[in-house]
């Protein structure tokens, strides 16, 4: 196959934009799985839920999907806090989180997906916004705004979260709970409360990631499953809980996936993410920038 330079360049550019979006998708899991040790495999389902929330607000009130996502942040935060509360009472306290906790999130994944199918059907839904159809051109490279806007906000989100974690009191407490839970308890802080806040933040990011997703492509309930592998691949590759590692891994995966689907066809793209994940787990489980 002849590989033209222009095609390669625009595939790489598209991959970088895609990677920025993947960072927003993954950051929630990076917090819950990487820092809190909660294997929330239902996270992609909450992202789809976020997409539908943006869709409803967009379709019925004409709100910008990203503005809609910001309005939904408190709702998702509360949902996350509630889920953590159940998880803590039922599994963490019993010391039962490994097996049954996983099954719990697996069940939540299903309930969310099927409930969305029952309410909205399996039709693809999309949103309208001023920037969705516009594309900027720089020579051979196309920059569609529907990719560029999520990319930019997602990078801002990552920077904001990093600042929050390293500078604010709560943020540093979250890092402390991920490093040494007992020591935090000895400092008279309540690890459960801090984990609840952190988990709630992780679910709140799903509202934003969901809005990005539905701006980038039409959404139907079951596409969340495609993201399970991507999310965990990026999270593991980035070295669990490290944000700079996460962004690097997300961009890498975005580029590899975009190049693969440009030159070999989109039906191979899912295998890339999962293949990446399997290889990472087998060869370098500590991730790119692992401790």
């Amino acid at each position: 196959m002849e590989i033209s330079l222009d095609l390669l360049l625009s595939a790489i550019m598209a991959g970088i934009l895609l990677g920025g979006f993947y960072a927003a998708v993954t950051v929630g899991v990076s917090i819950s799985f990487g820092m809190l040790d909660i294997v929330n495999i239902a996270h992609p389902a909450f992202i789809i839920l976020g997409s539908y929330a943006a869709y409803i607000l967009n379709a019925s009130f004409g709100l910008d999907p990203i503005l809609a996502a910001f309005l939904m942040l408190p709702v998702f935060y509360a949902l996350g806090a509630a889920i953590y509360q159940i998880y803590h009472l039922v599994f963490e306290r019993r010391g039962d989180e490994a097996l049954r906790g996983l099954a719990f999130f697996f069940g939540l994944l299903f309930i969310t997906e099927v409930a969305l199918v029952l309410v909205f059907g399996v039709d693809y839904r999309f949103v309208n916004a001023a920037y969705v159809g516009i594309t900027l051109h720089y020579g051979p490279i196309d920059l569609p705004l529907r990719m560029l806007v999520p990319f930019a906000i997602s990078i801002l989100l990552m920077i904001g979260l990093q600042l929050f974690l390293s500078c604010s009191f709560i943020g540093r407490a979250i890092q402390a709970v991920s490093q040494d839970r007992l020591a935090l308890q000895l400092m008279a802080a309540n690890p459960t409360k801090i984990k609840r806040i952190a988990f709630a933040i992780s679910i709140a990011t799903a509202a934003l990631a969901g809005a990005f997703l539905i701006i980038i492509q039409p959404v139907e309930p079951s596409i969340g499953r495609d993201y399970i592998g991507r999310v965990f691949a990026i999270c593991v590759l980035g070295g669990l809980g490290s944000f700079p590692g996460l962004v690097a891994a997300a961009l890498l995966l975005g580029v590899v996936e975009s190049v693969t689907s440009t030159f070999y066809g989109p039906s191979w793209a899912p295998a890339v993410a999962f293949g990446f994940l399997l290889l990472t787990l087998a060869l370098r489980p500590a991730g790119l920038m692992g401790r």
């Binding site: 799985f33 294997v39 495999i41 159940i86 039922v90 599994f91 019993r94 039962d96 490994a98 097996l99 049954r100 996983l102 099954a103 719990f104 697996f106 069940g107 939540l108 994944l109 299903f110 309930i111 099927v114 409930a115 199918v117 029952l118 499953r225 495609d226 399970i228 592998g229 965990f232 691949a233 593991v236 039906s267 191979w268 899912p270 295998a271 993410a273 999962f274 293949g275 994940l277 399997l278 787990l281 087998a282 489980p285």
Partner: protein
């Protein structure tokens, strides 16, 4: 039931199977064979999942991949050299068992959650490979034409039912004999405290590899007759997520610590789903499974078996 001898168990299991089969022959309607086949298939899947998940504590989300590998190995053999179904079952088992071994070798040195995530990943990789493989029909799927006459019985669906019944008896028998063997004690030491087991000299990695291989092989065996059952197989149905959910939900709901749990779960959930599919809809059907799964892990973590045991213990006091 606790102190039954192995030979007695096998005799009893085959007797139960034979009686079950004899009774179903009295039913004049083929639908019962179709429905019964599905429930038996789930008994095999749930038992296979439980050998890894229940006994060693490693959660496999990729049951659908092992199951579909068995089914697709039958499709390949059908195109190359059609063999009788029992041989296909053996071939499907060998292939899925080999994949299970490879999978375990790649990931079992990591913490449990990584193994689970890797199995999810495996399911998608295998599905993508099959979807892009034209020889087995790719995304269009493959048609299987059943022979006009089935061996032994004549009626093909009854024949498949019988094959699956024998497979279910074998799978349950294997699970039960593991429970009472050194292997089973090794497995449960891994589940309870892997580091302590390792320190006490239990060869944990080797035992885990035995579990993934055995579990994968049984799942593949359950999938091997599928193409003859449905006569048309495409990746979306072979890799249907329903298999992954059910093979987790059934042992969890039935009870994971003994061989009887997956059977109870499979019969309970399998029957509910057959009824729901016929009377309501198949989307709702998955909602029921998901809701029951969450309900049971929250309220009754030891499943139906656990509920019954604690009831009995309370009465004895």
């Amino acid at each position: 039931m606790g102190r039954m001898r192995n030979s007695t168990f096998w005799a009893a299991a085959f007797a139960v199977g034979a009686v079950f089969f004899g009774l179903s022959l009295l039913v004049p309607n083929d639908y019962y064979f179709f429905a019964g086949y599905v429930v038996l298939q789930y008994i095999v899947l749930a038992t296979a999942w439980n050998i890894l998940g229940g006994y060693t504590g490693y959660v496999n989300f990729g049951s659908a991949a092992f199951f579909a590998l068995g089914a697709y190995s039958t499709v390949v053999m059908y195109k190359l050299l059609p063999l009788p179904v029992p041989l296909l079952v053996v071939i499907g088992g060998v292939i899925s068992g080999a994949v299970g071994l490879g999978m375990g070798y790649l990931t079992l040195r990591l913490r449990g959650a990584f193994f689970s995530i890797a199995t999810l990943a495996l399911a998608v990789v295998v599905q993508t490979l099959i979807t892009n493989w034209d020889f087995v029909g790719g995304s269009r799927g493959a048609y299987i034409i059943r022979p006009a006459h089935a061996p032994l019985l004549g009626n093909y669906i009854q024949y498949l039912f019988l094959v699956m019944l024998v497979l279910a008896v074998i799978a349950v028998g294997i699970a039960r004999s593991i429970e009472r063997s050194r292997l089973g004690f090794g497995f449960s030491s891994i589940r309870d405290d892997e580091q302590a087991a390792e320190a006490a000299g239990v060869p944990t990695l080797r035992l885990k590899l035995v579990a993934t291989t055995l579990s994968g092989a049984l799942m593949g065996m359950a999938g091997a007759p599928l193409p003859y059952y449905v006569t048309y197989l495409d990746p979306a149905s072979g890799f249907n997520l329903a298999y992954a959910v059910n093979s987790i939900a059934m042992p969890l709901i039935g009870g994971m610590t003994s061989w009887i749990g997956p059977i109870i779960g499979a019969v309970f959930l399998g029957t509910i789903q057959q009824l729901a599919t016929v009377t309501i809809s198949s989307a709702l059907n998955l909602l029921i499974v998901g809701a029951l799964l969450v309900l049971f892990v929250v309220i009754a973590p030891n499943g139906i078996v656990g509920l019954v045991e604690s009831r009995l213990r309370a009465r004895r006091r």
